[in-house]
């Protein structure tokens, strides 16, 4: 099994006619994802390599029955696109858009919670989600993932997610699902949402979690793991040597004062019984060992 997306997921790509949308949307389709529609206002009736384009998400859903949306539009349009998808009854929205204003993100998140409690948003500013062999929504290169499980991955960082997939796949260790939750201040889906789903998924037998400095999501995840998880968790936290008070590329990766330091997160995770690796390679090696031990 997998979490959040599988071979039955049907996807509408918002922004399929744009350069990025076309590239990634079609790559997702080539991977085997059921990309059934694209949406671009004013371009309804056309198609992108056989994928029909609609003016609105509502129309696309009505005709194709799409259940998921891939939002790949510029930052100033992204929040409207997310809300439009939710209004149209889409239950899973993956938004890769980077540089969305924090105020828009906070408002959109809270509107989703209030008006569309059944809708899950992954991202923004994330690589997306892949259930290897079943569906890939986002910008992850499908060929670095290996189907068959048993490892679930949840990560706040893009390139480190790819690194993790790659390290496991090279050792012949497959993944059930890999979720990039993104590094923004208000992610639609957080570590705990994914850990909960992995804990409930019978095919996921171990979880790799990749965090970074800033915020307190990793600490909260540690609490959850300590109380509710019996599957082994390997974690890696980036940013041990990051100077405090400086933004390191993501809005998320910033520490102020003692809050959100890598050390605080590492301590909290170890306290909860999580094995914390000191670098991504080590995290991969540790996971391989655990998986081999599972028999």
């Amino acid at each position: 099994m997998s979490i959040f997306v599988d071979e039955t997921t049907t996807v509408v790509v918002q922004g399929l006619t744009g350069g990025q949308g076309r590239f990634h949307g079609l790559r997702n389709r080539d991977y085997g994802t059921k990309v059934v529609a694209g949406v671009t206002p004013g371009k309804g009736g056309t198609d992108v390599e056989g994928v029909p384009i609609y003016d609105t998400v509502a129309e696309a859903v009505e005709v194709t029955g799409a259940t998921a949306s891939f939002v790949v539009v510029p930052p100033r349009f992204a929040c409207d696109a997310i809300l439009e998808a939710a209004d149209a009854g889409i239950s899973l929205i993956v938004c890769i858009t980077e540089f969305i204003p924090a105020q828009d993100e906070a408002l959109t998140y809270n509107r989703l919670v209030r008006e569309h409690p059944g809708t899950r948003l992954i991202g923004p500013n994330c690589p997306g989600i892949i259930s290897p062999g079943k569906a890939n929504i986002g910008i992850t290169a499908g060929d670095i993932a290996l189907p068959g499980g048993p490892v679930g991955i949840v990560s706040r960082s893009g390139t480190l997610t790819y690194q993790a997939l790659h390290e496991l796949s090279q050792q012949g260790v497959g993944q059930t699902t890999c979720v990039g939750i993104g590094g923004d201040p208000v992610p639609g889906t957080n570590f705990i949402d994914c850990l909960e789903a992995f804990q409930a998924d019978p095919e996921t037998r171990a979880v790799m979690m990749i965090g970074e400095i800033g915020g307190s999501e990793e600490e909260r995840a540690a609490d959850y793991i300590g109380q509710h998880m019996d599957k082994p968790v390997i974690a890696y936290i980036a940013g041990v040597t990051a100077p405090p008070g400086r933004k390191m590329g993501h809005a998320g990766a910033i520490i102020s004062g003692s809050q959100g330091t890598a050390q605080a997160k590492i301590d909290a995770l170890r306290e909860a019984g999580v094995t914390v690796a000191s670098n991504p390679t080590e995290a991969g090696e540790m996971m391989v060992e655990i998986v081999r031990g599972l028999g």
Partner: protein
């Protein structure tokens, strides 16, 4: 983007938040002119983006032009915790009866706006939060609802602000919230928020951090961006549009993705070295970006070895390799360079690089091995 106090006050004023009359000065003469306009006595305040100005002697009271002259002479050019003072803000001195604290920011775990208000302002608020947390009245605001005056009034009561300050403070807080939301602030903080002896409430300081992602809808921010970047390396990187932070070590770092770049810093540290910088070249590691990155790293005299750590996801490693080869032809590198290229099409990428490897251009298969080699070479 952090604003200087004077910029923050000007920003507050746009949203109707009362501040003291004053002006900015880059020279002693300008300071005197601003003092004349504001009316004596005045306060001359160093404009630096770092706390502890008062303790460092960066804030002085002046009753006449001579005193302003002496204060400005002392403060301009002063070094406050590594920040040189280029400007002073000169404002009319307020008669302070009480000092409060007020701020809005995003509570990330709660995913809501968080207002903090305290009758114990004017001091280190972190200290108040640590030693006397009840002294801070916290208010969560759902962005869907916003903050109305009625809620603000209840909040002011709860925080125990003085009776005569409450009405005005509530109105000011609604405006501060508007400034925070419509002004696209990550942080809008007033410490101290004061009650004057004649019963007025206004902002005596301003700490504003703007969310640069919202710059597209704030054309007025362009004039705020002009800022002295003290680190020449950071200045050069900014001109080239690179996401660079200067550090103290000797291993120059180039990586793609913020997470991988941070992780590279950590690994260099683990094997006994120190990074000279953080540099995230993002997804597209083409020849142009790679050239710019190498130029910046190369200009840093403390760099003794360069570590390039690229993981190709969507970016194909063979494209990256071509970028590196072209960049090496463009830039004459002073220090040895260690390359770790992995991910999509890694084999093809390594094959391309093979004929370009030498004593000063080396390749390693893993991040750890590459870090070890770079640290060794930097010694």
């Amino acid at each position: 983007m952090d604003l200087y106090e004077y910029q923050g006050k000007q920003y507050f004023a746009r949203f109707g938040i009362p501040v003291s009359p004053g002006g900015i000065a880059k020279s002693v003469d300008e300071a005197v002119a601003q003092a004349e306009a504001a009316g004596y006595p005045v306060v001359v305040k160093a404009q630096v983006k770092v706390g502890g100005r008062g303790k460092a002697g960066g804030i002085k009271l002046a009753a006449d032009p001579d005193e302003v002259r002496r204060a400005a002479e002392a403060i301009l050019g002063m070094d406050i915790r590594g920040h040189t003072v280029h400007r002073v803000w000169v404002e009319h001195a307020s008669d302070i009866a009480k000092e409060y604290y007020a701020s809005f920011t995003l509570d990330r775990p709660a995913k809501l706006h968080l207002g903090m208000l305290s009758a114990a302002g004017g001091v280190e608020i972190e200290e108040v939060a640590a030693t006397n947390p009840e002294a801070i009245a916290r208010l969560h605001v759902n962005p869907c609802d916003g903050l109305d005056e009625q809620t603000a009034r209840r909040w002011v009561d709860e925080a125990g602000l003085d009776e005569e300050a409450r009405e005005e403070a509530a109105r000011l807080l609604v405006r501060l919230y508007r400034c925070f939301v419509e002004g696209d602030c990550d942080l809008a903080e007033i410490n101290p928020l004061i009650l004057t002896t004649d019963g007025k409430v206004h902002a005596l300081d301003a700490k504003v951090t703007l969310d640069e992602n919202a710059a597209f809808r704030h054309l007025e921010w362009e004039e705020l961006a002009e800022d002295e970047i003290e680190d020449p390396r950071e200045k050069m990187a900014k001109e080239k549009g690179l996401n660079y932070i200067g550090l103290e070590g000797s291993v120059g770092i180039i990586a793609n993705g913020a997470g991988l770049a941070m992780s590279t810093l950590d690994v260099v540290n683990q094997v006994g070295g120190k990074a000279a910088n953080f540099l995230d070249i993002g997804g597209g590691a083409n020849a142009e970006v790679m050239t710019a990155a190498l130029e910046v790293i190369n200009a840093d005299p403390s760099v003794k070895a360069i570590l390039v750590n690229i993981f190709g996801g969507i970016t194909r490693v063979d494209d990256v390799a071509n970028g590196v080869i072209a960049a090496l032809a463009n830039v004459e590198i002073h220090s040895p360079i260690v390359l770790r290229l992995d991910g999509t099409n890694a084999e093809a990428g390594r094959a391309l690089l093979a004929s370009h490897l030498s004593d000063s251009v080396l390749a390693e298969p893993t991040m750890l091995a590459a870090a070890r080699r770079a640290v060794e070479l930097a010694r």
